[in-house]
Amino acid sequence: MSAEIQTGNDNTHACCECDCGTRRDFMQLAAAAFGAVGLGFFVKPVIDSLRPAKDTQALATVEVDIGSVPEGESMTVMWRGKPVFIRHRTRKEIEMAQAVDVQSLTDKQSDEERVKKGKEQWLVTVGVCTHLGCIPQGQKPTDNRGGYDGWFCSCHGSEYDTSGRIRKGPAPKNLDVPPYEFVNDTTIKIG
């Protein structure tokens, strides 16, 4: 026994003359590396558990009857815990949205890209300010709609136009357009 221990020690000494590290260094590194990998395997599910759960994820699609919304008015529906704005735009509002020079916008999108062809009167956006997530005002005609007749976010003063595009204030992006399609002329399916 003691002889073996002796040899072990000798090895250590022999090895340290060159700069190659000892067997013990190797064992420590290997153990630490395995530990790190093991920790990684643990951290992954922990972080995953913080991500949206399956029921939250289940992309609840909502079907909305929009037939009852008269021109110039809007409705709000909930989708994934967020409000979705559906506005029935007037001729004037559509023209205002189309007349803008896209180059001058912060988030450069033309009105055509934000509505469905042939259904330009319907604008569907997620009603969450792209700055820090407040719900902008402007769904009711009596609301303050900001300087561009769309929506006004009172939290930090972002103003959106009749296409839901950011025109003024700190928000970096246009109001999101959620995935949606027309089931028929008066029904849309969001999600």
Binding site: P52, Q103, S104
Partner: protein, 566 residues
């Protein structure tokens, strides 16, 4: 924790325990006979007061947690039940609610003390950094706690603040969804916030332990900022400072109790007594008062930051550091560095500012040509060349292709959006506290002997207060405005104008409105906040002449004639 040269205790039970685990010896050493400078003023009370507040929060918090339900459907009602039905529940909640405010009052005074008397300097840097970590943990704890009652401010405050992280490039949305556990602040968010709100105070407790440990290695600073030279400069902690701390604590508690019993909701916001509604944002979201200065800094960055500004700032910083660390012989340095770094930097600043601050004017086409007049022409010229607009071939202008090119160029030209810039400024404002010991190279600690430093620290304190005020007001609030130009057009504008800063209105081009609004106020004082740490403190560190320091604490306290006697 050596028990080697332990003194015996008379009480046999105490002695029995202490000989097995010398806890009484340690307590006596650290809190009994611990040598403490004899010249503390009342600013030195606030550490003990903060400790008391932490214990108060933990005790009341645990009892509240016994009655509280973390579920979006039940949380608001469970807090109302605490207020109405739980015996003494209203008192516990008001103690906890106002306790958060008074905890921050104590800690802010404690931090002011540290800056004013130079307690962050060697050898107390680590002690100071641990303090800043406690401050950060407190902010996290208080923010998360405010979400628990699930009122309107809870929900929307949480929404606005968690959304800040979406500014992080590439992974922003992933981070935010991971924080939320969903696609908006909702039940999964509330439950995890409750778990964290329960945990974090105990983490704070652990860091406070480290903080006090570091304190007991270096010993306390004092109003003179000079080290004790011997026993004549110190007093045993007990009974001198236990008594003084207790007295200060009682005075503090009187003020605290006044709020608990007579103005319990004064420091809060009435909207938090409206149950959270994900469809309606309150007209004016304000955080709790103790976050307001940082909230103002966050909102002050309303402009995106392009490479011109960053490189300009980098050049200035480089020249500044070079100049600060130059050796005295190289006198010509200033002129040379000025030409090589500062002039190009100024040029870059002008370019960057034109691109970042002056909004793209409404473009008018006449016969298919863009029309600009006067100064607008120069500005558009700068914009045309320096935002690389000329790269876009004229033949594709107006098409989506051109728009895509513009977006791609902007992505390269502007690395920091306004939103990210605000977040960086806010966290940066606290990060500066961490590096403060290295920004200030002045050998004298106490502001008493640094007349200029003293003035600037007081100005800094006032400006943090003004930032707090700015944070509480709507961003577009106008303090002062005047309209230059055509009187009739001005009259018309007075009934419908909006916007910030000096601005040309295309519909009334004969007028210019000059305004001082809340955003500009916040910007000015945010500028001073950063200048204080990054310019004033380093400059004073190098150039300020301090007054003569007293020979020792006890000489300063008792007068010179006593010196000979000791």
């Amino acid at each position: 924790m050596g028990s080697a040269n332990r003194e015996k205790f008379d009480n046999t039970v105490v002695e029995w325990i202490d000989s097995r685990m010398p806890i009484f010896t340690i307590l006596n050493k650290e809190y009994g006979v611990f040598p403490t400078p004899r010249n503390f003023n009342y600013f030195w009370n606030f550490g003990a007061i903060a400790m008391f507040m932490l214990m108060t929060m933990i005790i009341t918090g645990i009892i509240l947690a016994m009655h509280y339900t973390a579920d979006t459907k039940l949380a608001f009602d469970s807090v109302e039940r605490i207020m109405r039905d739980v015996n003494g529940g209203w008192l516990l909640r008001y103690i906890h609610m106002n306790g958060a405010s008074f905890f921050f009052i104590a800690v802010y005074i404690h931090m002011f003390r540290g800056i004013y008397y130079g307690s962050y300097k060697k050898p107390r840097e680590l002690l100071w950094i641990l303090g800043v970590i406690i401050f950060l943990l407190m902010m996290a704890t208080a923010f998360i706690g405010y979400v628990l009652p699930w009122g309107q401010m809870s929900l929307w405050g949480a929404t606005v603040i968690t959304n800040l992280f979406s500014a992080v490039p590439f992974v922003g949305n992933w981070i935010v969804e991971t924080l939320w556990g969903g696609y908006s602040v909702d039940n999964p968010t509330l439950t995890r916030f409750f778990a964290l709100h329960f945990l974090l105070p105990f983490v704070i407790f652990a860091v406070v332990f480290l903080h006090v440990w570091a304190l007991h290695v270096s010993g306390s600073n004092n109003p003179l900022g000079i080290e004790p030279k011997g026993p004549q400069d110190t007093l045993p902690f007990n009974p001198y400072y236990t008594a003084k701390d207790t007295f200060g604590l009682v005075v503090f508690m009187v003020a605290y109790a006044f709020f608990i019993f007579f103005a319990p909701d004064f420091l809060g916001h009435p909207d938090n007594y409206i149950p959270a509604d994900p469809l309606v944002t309150p007209a004016h979201i304000v955080p709790e008062w103790y976050f307001l200065p940082f909230y103002a800094i966050l909102r002050a960055v309303t402009f995106s930051i392009n490479w011109y500004l960053i490189i300009g700032a980098g050049l200035c910083a480089y020249a500044f550091i070079k100049w600060m660390t130059k050796n005295k012989e190289r006198e010509s340095f200033f002129v040379k560095e000025y030409m090589v770094f500062v002039l190009p930097a100024l040029f870059l600043f002008v370019l960057g500012a034109v691109i970042a601050f002056i909004p793209v004017s409404e473009q008018q086409f006449v016969d298919g040509e863009l029309q600009y007049v006067g100064i607008a022409r120069i500005i558009e010229g700068i914009r045309y060349y320096f935002t690389f607009d000329f790269l876009i071939p004229d033949s594709i202008r107006g098409t989506t292709e051109a728009v895509e090119m513009r977006v791609a160029i902007d992505a390269l030209l502007i690395p920091i959006s306004a939103k990210l810039g605000g977040v960086l400024a806010m966290f940066g404002s606290i990060a500066l506290l961490i590096v403060l010991p290295w920004l200030d190279s002045h050998p004298v600690r106490s502001a008493r002997f640094r007349p200029l430093f003293r003035i600037f620290v007081l100005l800094f304190t006032v400006s943090v207060g003004i930032l707090g005020y700015a944070g509480s007001q709507p961003a577009d609030k106008v303090y002062w405005s005047t309209c230059l130009g055509d009187a009739v057009a001005c009259e018309a504008l007075a009934h419908g104008g909006h916007g910030a800063g000096a601005e040309h209105h295309s519909d009334a081009s004969a007028t210019t409105i000059i305004k001082l609004d809340n955003t500009m106020l916040a910007q000015a004082f945010t500028g001073f906040y950063f200048a204080f740490f990054l310019i004033i403190i380093p400059l004073l560190g190098r150039f300020e002449k301090a007054r003569a320091l007293p020979y020792s604490i006890h000489e300063a306290v008792l007068g010179k004639e006593q010196r000979a006697g000791v």
